[in-house]
Amino acid sequence: MHEFGIAQGLMDVVLGRAREAGANRIEQVNLAIGVLAGVEEEALQFAFRALGEDTPAAETRLVIEKIPLRCYCRPCDAVFECKPFAYRCPTCGAASAEVRTGKELSLISMEVS
């Protein structure tokens, strides 16, 4: 449900940047979203489309790169990829909640014309 608020914040940023660049259309917006960001991709896509009607973002492709969860294992001094709620190092089995990636919620870049 909070995807709408996030989409609104994103819309404000991309429309502002497009205006600054003197662009008529926003072709593509690239996002990075971690699996722990708590954002449902479909809901965000829908909200972005709904908010973009009659704006330069009406036809924009929203491209989302999913960032996997990676945690740090102290005993091994290594970063390992894992799923939410399985934060165990595959090498030594130690539990870790030291999240290194997976919380991202960022606009990476955009293309305008």
């Binding site: 909070h2 996002l31 722990l36 708590g38 539990a95 960022s106 014309s113």
Partner: protein, 252 residues
């Protein structure tokens, strides 16, 4: 006017016209001006950092409490306030979609309570807390309890500036709740397992629940309570006392 968030300022997007009387078309391709990373929760995170700075300046310990609706957040806070209000200065902020019933309950328990009615929003954000602070004198406080909107999804994404993020779950919700909502549990500094007085009635499997909490929230302190009978609440109160004392000692 609020200088931090610029609320009362007219911040609606406005167009700039150059007025040079002719139109020109650009073919920008990827426009330089339009690029560069931007954190989508940057505004919330900035306001949360501002809240955190205010709390630190006044040595106030802030606890953000989340759970499903009906897990017993308000009941636990009532009991917490009744016990701690005699030994320290406690206030509460309560988030709900509608009504100020919960704030009224916490006031009856003995603490000033500020109700935020979010309308349709499913979580509290740093901006709402920032404005609630207009009504709360931090200089007169030791502990601020924030009861978030009942929801185990959205509140995970919004830092409020708290010291402690606490997830409450109750025995009536089943043992596997931590595995179903891993994002919010991973964030937990403490997990409170409430309604232990009903455990037998709902055939609650305590060992399985504890194992699931440990899996989903490896860094969390775990408390088991019955907010109704008071069983186990003392350990939770001690946890709060320790944090309040430490923060007062460091910053107060």
């Amino acid at each position: 006017m609020c200088e931090t968030c610029g609320c009362a300022v007219n911040h609606h997007p406005h167009e700039h016209h150059h007025g040079d009387g002719h139109e020109h078309r650009h073919d920008h391709g990827t426009a330089e001006a339009a690029n560069g990373p931007h954190a989508l929760l940057a505004l919330n995170d900035r306001l949360a950092a501002g809240n955190r700075r205010h709390f630190r300046e006044h040595g106030v310990t802030v606890v953000n409490i989340v759970s499903s609706p009906g897990s017993g957040k308000t009941a636990l806070l009532e009991r917490t306030i009744r016990s701690l209000a005699t030994e320290m200065r406690v206030a509460a902020i309560v988030g709900d979609l509608a009504t100020d019933n919960d704030a009224a309950r916490l006031r009856s328990a003995g603490a000033p309570a500020h109700q935020i009615t979010t309308g349709s929003a499913c979580h509290l954000d740093a901006h709402m807390i920032h404005h609630a602070l207009d009504d709360i004198r931090l200089a007169d406080l030791d502990l601020l309890l924030i009861e978030n909107v009942g929801n185990l999804v959205c509140p995970a994404a919004f830092d409020l500036g708290e010291d402690l993020f606490v997830v409450l779950l109750s025995t009536t919700e089943g043992e596997d709740k931590p595995l179903k909502y891993p994002v919010i549990f991973l964030k937990a500094d403490a997990v409170v397992l409430n309604k232990t007085d009903l455990a037998v009635a709902v055939d609650f499997k305590r060992d399985a629940a504890m194992a699931n909490i440990e899996t989903a929230a490896p860094k969390a302190k775990v408390f088991t309570t019955s907010a109704r009978t008071g069983d186990g609440v003392e350990a939770w109160l001690d946890y709060l006392r320790r944090h309040v004392k430490a923060k007062k000692g460091t910053f107060g």
